[in-house]
């Protein structure tokens, strides 16, 4: 089932090193790139159907085309590698195992959108990853791929790595921009959208690491080769991070559109001996949970996930078996989003903390069914009332647990602590 497009060089010893990477085809697309018209590159990316791999799945080529024409301002590219969504660990593989694929992707994107300055916003906790990435960038400068005359062309490309300071919300694209500008990482109100007014007030494209890293393959092999994988509306491959209670957790590159349960069984080794499936988090902690029944029919693509009232998200699949205490999982979930709320908007700032305390109260055995109802209502009262979707990233999954596993909450209310252990 696995496909090696993005992960082609992941298992090659020393592929983060430019010499080794080049031996295996890195930077090979650049000769072709500079013979093309920038608009042509955008068209190929549009045709490939590549969707933003940060979680929202917005078509990448379409995003680029939102840049205003005839600009008197510089265009910035920000590569989002703030990978902080719980259960998501795909971008780190690219950063560590094939950083030159990312750099090559950056060069392609810069050429397509006429951008000279790129910022890679990297999660602050990625300390070893940032060293490898920076070393690769230094190599690319030394080899002439980056710099004043990038790739020997009359085209400057500078890449700057900006480390975050430990805020999940800085993965939200406008908070990311604020953070690069040296301000407190708080999302901006939109409009204006970054493509029109982004970094330092200039048009800015923000793409996920995996999105940018997909570009060399698309350019080298063509849009059709990429579309050969996946489904009609969810083309290509994705790095899936499968974690939780399976036999073989790990990072697997798969084409989009595969049946979820088949992947869990055949790729991730299935559940542990004697365990039954309780639920699946399909794409990072912020996506609504799927019940075993829903998991039967869902496939790993944007449309099927939407049909099942959840989201494809970041490809971070978490498998929950019958040992998982959903109430404690929800406590952990709200704890995270509460802790990471930037504190800007009233509903998120005050509401998530309130929800956390209510769940804790339920776990202490002091809750009532009223508290469960209140939790559900608070989800509605908070969601979509804020500048960004961080609050919704909490309330959407919490609502799904409350609706699909209400009996577990009621068990706490009725009889104090549940017999089940925490995850």
């Amino acid at each position: 089932m696995e496909v090696k497009i993005l992960s082609a060089k992941f298992d090659i010893e020393g592929a983060h090193n430019i010499e080794v990477a080049k031996e295996h085809g890195a930077y090979a697309t650049l000769d072709k790139l500079f013979t093309m018209d920038p608009a042509e590159v955008t068209t190929i990316v549009k045709d490939s159907g590549l969707r933003g791999r940060g979680g929202a799945g917005f078509p990448a080529g379409l995003k680029w085309s939102f840049l205003p024409k005839d600009l008197d301002k510089p265009v910035y590219l920000c590569v989002n590698s703030d990978e902080s969504e719980p259960a998501t660990f795909k971008d780190r593989y690219i950063l560590v195992r094939d950083p030159h694929m990312l750099i090559e992707g950056i060069i392609i994107c810069c050429y397509a959108i006429n951008c000279q300055d790129t910022y890679i916003y990297i999660r602050g906790e990625y300390t070893s990853q940032v060293k490898i990435l920076q070393a690769a960038i230094d190599e690319a400068y030394a080899a002439g791929y980056l710099g004043e005359k990038a790739c020997g062309q009359d085209f400057r490309i500078d890449v700057t790595v900006h480390r975050g300071a430990g805020a999940y919300v800085c993965g939200e694209e406008t908070a990311l921009l604020e953070s690069i500008e040296g301000k407190k990482g708080q999302p901006r109100s939109k409009p204006p959208f970054p493509a029109v007014e982004g970094l330092y007030g200039c048009p800015t494209i923000i793409n996920n690491v995996q999105t940018i890293a997909s570009l060399p393959f698309i350019l080298a092999q063509g849009a059709d080769a990429y579309k050969a994988h996946g489904t009609e509306k969810s083309s290509g491959t994705h790095l899936f991070g499968i974690s939780g209670l399976v036999q073989k957790p790990g990072m697997y590159e798969l084409p989009l559109g595969l049946p979820l349960l088949e992947v869990l069984d055949k790729v991730a080794g299935g559940l542990r001996e004697g365990r039954t499936l309780k639920g699946v988090i399909p794409g990072g902690s912020s996506t609504p949970v799927l019940t075993p029944e829903e998991a039967q029919t869902v496939t790993l693509d944007y449309e099927s996930m939407a049909e099942h009232n959840t989201m494809f998200g970041s490809g971070g699949i978490v498998v929950l078996d019958d040992t998982v205490d959903i109430v404690k999982l929800v406590e952990n979930l709200i704890y995270f989003y509460h802790h990471e709320s930037c504190g800007q908007c009233t509903p998120c700032r005050e509401g998530l903390g309130w929800m956390l305390k209510i769940v804790k109260k339920i776990i202490r055995g002091e809750g009532s069914t009223k508290d469960i109802d209140l939790l559900l209502e608070l989800c509605d009262n908070i969601e979509m009332k804020t500048v960004c979707v961080l609050s919704a990233a909490c309330t959407m999954p919490v609502r799904s647990y409350l609706n699909k596993f209400r009996h577990e909450f009621e068990a706490y209310v009725a009889g104090g602590a549940s017999s089940q252990s925490a995850m």
């Binding site: 709320s341 800007q344 005050e350 009332k385 500048v387």
Partner: protein
Amino acid sequence: MAEKIKLFVNGQEVEVESGKNLVDAIGAVGIEIPHLCYHPALGADGNCRMCLVGIEDGRPPLVPACKTRAVEGMKVQLDTDKIRKIQRDVMEFELVNHPVDCPVCDQAGECKLQDYYMQYDGQKSRMSVPQVRKAKHLDFGCGVIHDQERCILCARCVRFTRMITKTGELGIVNRTDYARVTIFPGRPLANRYALNVVDLCPVGAMTSQDFRFKQRAWFLTKSKSICHGCAKGCNIFIDHNREKYKDDIIYRFRPRLNEQINGYFMCDEGRMSYKLENEQRLTKPVLNGKVADFGTTVEGIRRALSQAQKMLFVVSPNCSLEEMRAIQQFAASQNATLSGYSDGYIKQGDGDDYLIQDDKSANRAGLELLGIDSSKTGFETAVAEADLLISFQNDLTRTLGAEACNQLKERMVLISIGSHEDSLTQMAAIMLPVASYSEKDGTIVNADRILQRYAVAVEKNAPPVTLIQAVAQLGGEITSLESAWDDLNTVVAGLNKVDFAQIPEQGLALTDSEVSNVAA
């Protein structure tokens, strides 16, 4: 006038000014969109979420009104179940961690949280878990006390120090419900406008060290006036209260919006100058070192005037135009030299490029308008010959120093007609107390030559005699404001078309020669 556009609010067509956001545009026609973080002087921030409104057929369908421009034909949904629920929910979130200590909070009575709770919320608390505890009674400097538990993190104060004073002492640290407004360690507020954050704070998180616990807001009478602290003439509210069996006392000044002059703000020095209206006030006339009644003292001054050979009248640059004219007329009738010499009221280099002026007097432009000589040489020539000097509220010790004034006292009869006890009134052989600006009507011209009227704000138990009345009793021809206005209209070329009774609230700019507010 700005261009008008038509849009719909709750299905009803309204005509509003274009180019404004929905809060201001719709607010101007009397439809309130509740908001906490938005302030016209600080722009939209969009953090409180209280101003969320629906836009029919809009993308997105739910927008913060403060960040949304009014557009022709827009269909704004405000009075719908959905929006009312959002307002109620946001208020609930604002209050979950709020101490609700209204009984001991200075903001009570003028608190947005209280007002909005009554208007948009009204439900019982559903909070059954412990609240977030934060710090209280933090001294932020400049007389500003902060209570983090009452704070709703609207960031108005933070934006004020960044956008208006550009000093940036305040910031919000931490995330989520641990977020709080604070200063940098050891770096308190240090700007001359800091107390504006107390007014800006929509709740009781920022209180004034000076005002807190003195009065409940609802007991205060809020009278419009003009600050006399410097030549800017900032528009203010005088908040005062006459408690039972006591005299009327002023408790604070607050800035009053005047786009043409001070905008929404005022300086701390001007704000704290309210104390001068309460303290060191002259109440009892003094004749030759002894307290005397008013009539006897007036007689004493008249006698001194009749005996004098060369008289010098010195008028204060704080006097109103009407008072200046009355004194000018009286001086002419008495053949006295009139001087407005008052260089001591100017603190060279003290002003800034915002509101604060070097000139600490309120109506120096009035002296110029009436052609009253304020020069040092003019004063020195006159004082050398004089054997009698009357100071009309002009504390000459500020200009000449106490020593020089003491020497004057030895050579001539020194008479002081003033409202406040100062070094000169203490030296004067005869002293007559009169009203200060909060107790009378008048007209002044500020440094930018804007004519402004102010009216009686405070009614004392024993109303002091006004300067015009005092001058009239001494023999002046001008006996009232109205007679002063008639005189000003005829005597001062620049004012002959000014209807003093009709000076607009925003003031009348005297910049062009043909200034007129008389209906054609």
